[in-house]
């Protein structure tokens, strides 16, 4: 049989035209998807079904929070592929079940339109999995103590009105936060709390976050910059969160541009993924939030030195979780209130003359609505 006439054959299968280049290798879309999927499966290895002889096997439930962005959508696509193969294999068993949670993007940033069609498309394309869609303000429903907590946390700057709806009360709280950095920081805290509370209620023991290595590097640097260095052991590392739910980041070996490439060759995701809102180049540095600054930094540096950026999250993943034996945890974000055991440093928020109760950690005290700068 004569060989196919290919102008640029795929370096893996040598049987198809290469459509993209990743890590200095030209691949066809099929081999590229395999490559990315393989990197993800390696991180999912430990979720295995027991041998057949073991009866009464119930696959564990894993929660996949889906932002409808590129990364989490690609993660869903890859894991769905793995599960479909396991279901099709009559001799095998499924290793896990997925529960997908979408926190309505329109309730997070008001500029976003409603994503009904994306959500419907999602259920049509991935019919095997359980789906739940929640508004952001349901955090008050799933975390009942949250209302009192934000009142205590926000202090005098925030006048809660219990006669109003949850939606309005959350909006009022978010509006009283002064700076972009604190806004982003507290939104992340509240979103995490909501996802964790939902996971617990739905009986999921693990949450699979869709962060790329680019995003993890940005989160590492931003966490360090916001005084949250101690909680990196679960915020960017695979490990146990303070609420007894395991956090995992299966996309930690794949960078953001690669995930974009994946989505571009994956027609199933076309009507699901909501494109990221690019950070405007014109925004003054001082008007960015720390999270945005770090994302911007990591993306520009990552274009030149992808390996160096990938190494940042690998480095953070090496930190050993602090034994939280008898240390108090922050009522809001779950981090340690005091220093990590063994740290005798004296950087405390009291240096800023705020001596409020010690229910909140250093990082949270920096984002309090009263703190203007």
């Amino acid at each position: 049989m004569p060989a196919k006439e290919l102008t640029r054959p795929c370096m893996d299968c040598k049987d198809a035209e290469a459509v993209l280049t990743t890590r200095k290798r030209s691949l066809c879309s099929h081999c590229f998807k395999l490559f990315i999927a393989h990197k993800t499966f390696r991180r999912m290895d430990h979720h295995k079904a027991p041998p057949k002889k073991q009866k009464d096997y119930v696959p564990s439930k894993l929660l996949l929070p889906l932002s409808l962005g590129v990364s989490s959508s690609v993660l869903l696509h890859i894991l769905d592929g793995q599960l479909q193969r396991q279901i099709a294999n009559i001799h095998g068993r499924v290793a896990y079940q997925l529960h997908v949670l979408v926190i309505e993007p329109s309730t997070i940033s008001p500029g976003n339109l409603s994503y009904d069609s994306n959500f419907e498309e999602l259920q049509r394309k991935f019919p095997t999995h359980a789906f739940t869609r929640l508004p952001f303000h349901s955090v008050f429903e799933y975390v009942p103590e949250m209302k009192d907590l934000i009142n205590e946390y926000a202090g005098t700057q925030f006048a809660d009105d219990s006669s109003r709806s949850d939606k309005d009360r959350l909006a009022a709280f978010r509006a009283c936060v002064a700076t972009a950095t604190s806004k982003d920081d507290l939104d992340n805290v509240l979103l995490t709390r909501l996802v964790v509370a939902f996971a617990k209620q739905a009986g999921c023991e693990t949450i699979l976050w869709g962060d790329s290595d680019t995003r993890l590097a940005a989160k590492t640097l931003a966490g360090a910059a916001k005084g949250r260095g101690a909680s990196l052991t679960w915020q960017v590392s695979d490990g146990m969160s303070p609420w007894g739910v395991q956090f995992e980041f299966p996309l930690r070996d794949i960078n953001k541009p690669e995930l974009h490439q994946f989505a571009s060759v994956c027609s199933e995701l076309a009507n699901i993924v909501v494109p990221d809102q690019p950070i405007s180049e014109n925004t003054l540095t001082k008007n960015l939030s720390i999270d945005e600054l770090m994302m911007r930094y990591v993306e520009t540096q990552g274009a030149k030195y992808p390996g160096v950026i990938a190494n940042v999250s690998r480095t953070a993943n090496k930190l050993q979780p602090a034994g939280s034996d008898d240390c108090a945890e922050c009522a809001l974000c779950g981090s340690l209130v005091s220093n990590v055991k063994g740290n005798t440093g004296i950087t405390v928020s009291s240096q800023f003359g705020e001596s409020q109760g010690s229910r909140f950690c250093y990082g949270c005290s920096r984002s309090r609505p009263e703190v203007r700068s």
Binding site: L221, A224, A225, G227, L319, G342, N343, I346
Partner: protein, 413 residues
Amino acid sequence: MAPTTCFNCKEARAVIIRPKNRHKLCRACFLQIFETEVHETITTSNLFYPGERVAIGASGGKDSTVLAAVLKTLNERYGYGLDLCLLSIDEGIRGYRDDSLETVKRNAEQYDMPLMIVGYGELYGWTMDQVVEQIGKKGNCTYCGVFRRQALDRGAARLDIKHVVTGHNADDVAETVMMNLLRGDLPRLSRGTSIVTASGASEIKRSKPLKYAYEKEIVLYAHHRQLDYFSTECIYSPEAFRGSARTLIKDLEKIRPSSILDIVKSGEDMAALVPQGGNANGKTCRSNAAEDESAGGCGSQNGRTSGGEMAAMETQLAENEAAESMETEIRLPAQQPKPGNSRTPKQIKKQTMGHCERCGYISSQRVCKACTLLDGLNRNRPKTAIEVGAGMDDEEISSTLMRQMEHTQLTNS
């Protein structure tokens, strides 16, 4: 609009917006608060004991000048009972060092402290000017940093002093944290955040009392106390371009002024989470201080990594990844454990301190970094100076030399 009154005393007119938290303060309150914060740092970490002899590493720059001034003030105000002196290193950079040394000499008089100057020339046989002549303007900061570290210890030893304080500020520490996160070097991150670095073998301990002080506030303090300091950067540094970490921290400071302290706090916490970082807590860290901080030798070079370094690391990482994908896992047949030879889990390699074979200075290697660098320098230095026989005419001399050189070139090629 009426002038703003001081946030602290509510009386005097505010003339300073504090960089740390944007409080508006009057001059007296600012000086007072700055000093009190350094005092708190010193007392909470038990940096000194009464009667201790302490050498202040003085470069004539703002950090060390402020450190000397604040320590003198606090020593008198709170009765620390310290015996303070200034210790300066003369790198031998004409046009930079001679001027800043003059500043240090004036400081010694102003603060009534004894001053000791140790020169690279007498310690190593090479001044920085000679080093630059030899290896060029690129990468000479490494030499300077390594040499300076040892010089401080040696100078202190000569004065029989066991404690050297340096002017590292919060910005420096924050930079170290960010830089080592980017470099993936957790052990160094952990060592860089500790306020005291005690050398494992040598008896000289180093500390940074200004660890929580902002660089900007140090400048303000120096300005408002009208301290006499030298503000020109090292003439060899402009080619060393600003590193990523420094730029990032300047941007962060614009967004949230507290972030420098927040990074220091994160760094301290992370230091306690570094695997095997048992004794690496926020306060004391036993290791060879001289080698740890060598990379950030001089203040102006601190945090400036050459772009080449980042690119080199990128190449290295890419090669590692390529190698990883090519490697085949080879499993050895399971071995029966021999009785009495139980295997212990692999330990992470730790620095063990010994002494350099050449100079006897404490080092984790057989030959210390300074001696290694000196080796490289000395290799290229002509063993015997070219001497020209007396009595020859100028013309003859040049032609003889010319012939000799041609000969050398020929044999070389």
